[in-house]
Amino acid sequence: MSVETFVAAAETLFTLETMAWVVMGVLLGIVVGALPGLGPPLGMAIILPLTLPMEPTNAIILLIGVYSGSMYGGSIAAILINTPGVSSSAATMFDGYPMSKQGRAATALSISATASAIAGALTIVVLLLFSPFLVEVVLAVGTPERFLVAILGLAMITVVARGSIVKGLLAGVAGLLVTTVGSAPMSLDNRYTDSMLLYDGVSFVAVLIGLFAIAEMMKLAGQEGGIAEDGVRIGGGVSAGIVSTLKRPITVVKSGFLGMVIGSIPGAGATVSNFIAYSEAVRSSDDPDSFGDGNETGVVASEASNNGTVAGSLVPAISFGIPGSSSTAVLIGGLLMHDLRPGQSMFDPSGELALTYAMLLALLLGNLVILLVGLSLVTRLGILTKIDTNYIIPMVIVLSFLGTFALDTNPIDVLTIIVFGVLGFYMVRHNYSVIAFVLGVVLGDIAEQNLYRSLELSDGSYMIFVNPFEYGWLSPLLVLVICLILVGPFLQGRLERYRDG
């Protein structure tokens, strides 16, 4: 670890302005997370263009604060009104809401705050310690490997798309098609456009704002009345929640790191990790039947894992510009918008390493804010779930349009959020995976450019992806992993049939 850069990063962070952005980011995140229907990608997508006037470090710190805060905020709605504010808190509902019904809402909320903060902080510390090794990995990744990592991300669609794989693949392919618009990277052709406004393609940030902000608001507008139904009386002890969490150190650590590992896989975000961590908690419990009826371990596991995911999902995002989740897709948009290129320079002391450290330290601090706010305001947080939709929708819509236009003053971007807002609305309604679509949109350009560049490097030979003797072992290894992900489910099915037979 470069100590000098680390100290410089700490100095940047501990200025009044930057600290204020951390706190504001986390608080905003908690609010956005707690409002059912909103979530980290939506909150970040709306805030992203508003960060244009800010210094890059503060902008990224604000975005990441929102990300971290909303992971905790999601648990508030899950626990109090049985609606996950964010999908990454879905597993929190299983035991959190029953606890509320038993009059232990405050305990559940303080468990959530404590578990979120501890797991979030632990995983960030580990990420900080391992960042020098991460640099080695990033340096080993050249053009062919970057192409294969992008393909790996696309292959993950088969894993992350819940429900129909065909629908997941269709969504992913549709996302890829979006990236074909604009000037082709390998020729002088303009694809699907004569207008210069589209030469650089469809802005993926605008696509994300459309998919998350506009589509979600359309969905909310379709629901009658306020988002919250009758609230639950917030009872139970706050300190009981803290003690309960501290009594389960293994669950906290295991779930946090499960979240981190899953978060670092492209495409698999907190939505996946909180279910896996919850299932693991059930599996390893002596009393699995008590889950679902207000078992505190369930809340600990789910909440520890989703905050752990934040640290993990930063790895592919800042190393390769590949999103671990929709939220990190927006974060990558933020980095690019502020002229920060994910990759080697994010770990280079003469490059952006100070920003990377500042970002991680801000997350550490953010977890402290979560703990303090979560515990001190526990009894008042319920109010967030009662805000009328009629106030939220116009605010989000207006901010989305203004922000999108401010991105690049390109009128096409405004059209983009409308088109993808409507598309996103119907995708969710008909169970097409939005994350698969996002993966396609974000990875399409990376895959295409690096495929073309790889073939230029190898003078047209596809062996560059598989020949370990000339081009190194990482590429063939990645090819193998991709093949396993793609054919794994079929092999597994056959194996099971064979066994049964």
């Binding site: 244009l52 006037p53 303009n190 203004l402 401010a406 560049r453 003078d459």
Partner: protein
């Protein structure tokens, strides 16, 4: 005022189109009285923080003092700088909107992309305020110090790949020119993602050498492992006083490898108002603050008046046509694609 503040102050009304439009329609002072009587918009066809943008941000506050009116910098990026020029073409010709175009880069892009909605020749010259251009950077592990050694290394087969900044980019055409006319016998030229992409590729030795701008080369050289071995420009580069020059090996390449930051106004802008802006830019470009900035950053500031700028603009496209066979270039791009 920089773009960040500009957007913050009026995120909804941030359109310089409307600002400029209103300025042109509502203020009687502009039509009859002194110029300028209202704020001006300086359009940069690249993103904030880029090489062209930093010049404008250095010069604008000093030019504001000279003009007595604020200058707002407006970034209209996209399409390799062409989108901003298309935007500028549609602006009012009252002198309140002008922009920086890197000549002959925009003429090259316009020619390669076969744009027919507007013509570079129709824009009105104001001044030029700086110069930048290309150098070749090489990974230090090959121990190459000048262009002669680089040429030998490619000829011997020690080196194979050569990095440039994107398909259809001027650096792509330069790669072919270096091969055809200066005997740099690379086996395969590889398109990377802009100047940063080339820097990274040469640093990581994915390509041993490539084309970088003189300013980005400073960053690459400072980060270690990379040297700038030959300048493709005619103008001296203070940051690399000892660097070899391509003119030692053939004719000048400045018609495509050296760029003047020319300030231009929309077609029809009267010469009197352009001279006012040119005078303000001269004050800014020759100011002590700018000299200090120049030394600190390695950016080359050079002022040229309206008449000199007019000559540069007039000759840019002709020089390109004379020296580059665009049809052959397009065919080569297509052949490489296949």
């Amino acid at each position: 005022m920089n773009r960040r503040e500009y957007l913050l102050n009026g995120i909804g009304a941030a359109s310089a189109v409307s600002l400029a439009g209103l300025a042109g329609c509502l203020d009687d002072g502009q039509a009859s009285g002194e110029f300028p009587s209202d704020s001006l918009t300086w359009m940069i066809p690249w993103s904030e923080g880029g090489g062209t943008d930093v010049y404008a941000r250095q010069l604008a506050p000093l030019a504001e003092d000279a003009l007595g009116e604020p200058i707002e910098i407006h970034n209209e990026s996209g399409a390799g700088g062409l989108r901003g020029m298309e935007w500028l073409d549609s602006q009012p010709d009252d002198g309140y909107v002008f922009g920086t175009a890197n000549t002959p880069s925009w003429q090259f892009g316009w020619r390669v992309r076969s744009i027919d909605d507007w013509e570079p020749a129709n824009f009105e010259p104001i001044a030029y305020s700086g110069v930048f251009g290309y150098v070749i950077i090489v990974n230090d592990k090959y121990g190459i110090d000048d262009f002669g050694e680089l040429r030998d290394a490619y000829a011997d087969g020690e080196l194979e790949r050569f990095a440039y900044q994107g398909v259809g980019h001027d650096s792509h055409a330069i790669s072919y020119l270096l091969r055809d006319d200066y005997d740099l016998e690379w086996d395969n030229a590889v398109a990377f993602d802009g100047g940063d992409g080339v820097n990274e590729a040469v640093m990581s030795d994915e390509a041993p050498a490539g084309i970088a701008t003189n300013t980005s080369a400073i960053e690459a050289v400072n980060s270690g492992d990379v040297s700038a071995v030959v300048s493709l420009m005619d103008t001296d580069i203070p940051a690399f006083p000892e660097i070899d020059r391509i003119t030692n090996y053939g004719d000048s390449l400045s018609y495509i490898a050296e760029f003047e930051l020319t300030q231009v106004a929309p077609p029809g802008t009267p010469v009197e108002v352009r001279r006012e802006i040119a005078d303000a830019i001269e004050v800014a470009a020759t100011h002590d603050d700018t000299t200090a900035w120049e030394e600190e950053t390695g950016n080359i500031v050079e002022y040229g008046d309206l008449d000199e700028t007019e000559t540069i603009l007039e000759e840019a496209l002709d020089d390109l046509e004379e020296n580059i066979d665009f049809e052959e270039f397009e065919q080569r791009v297509e052949a490489a694609e296949e």
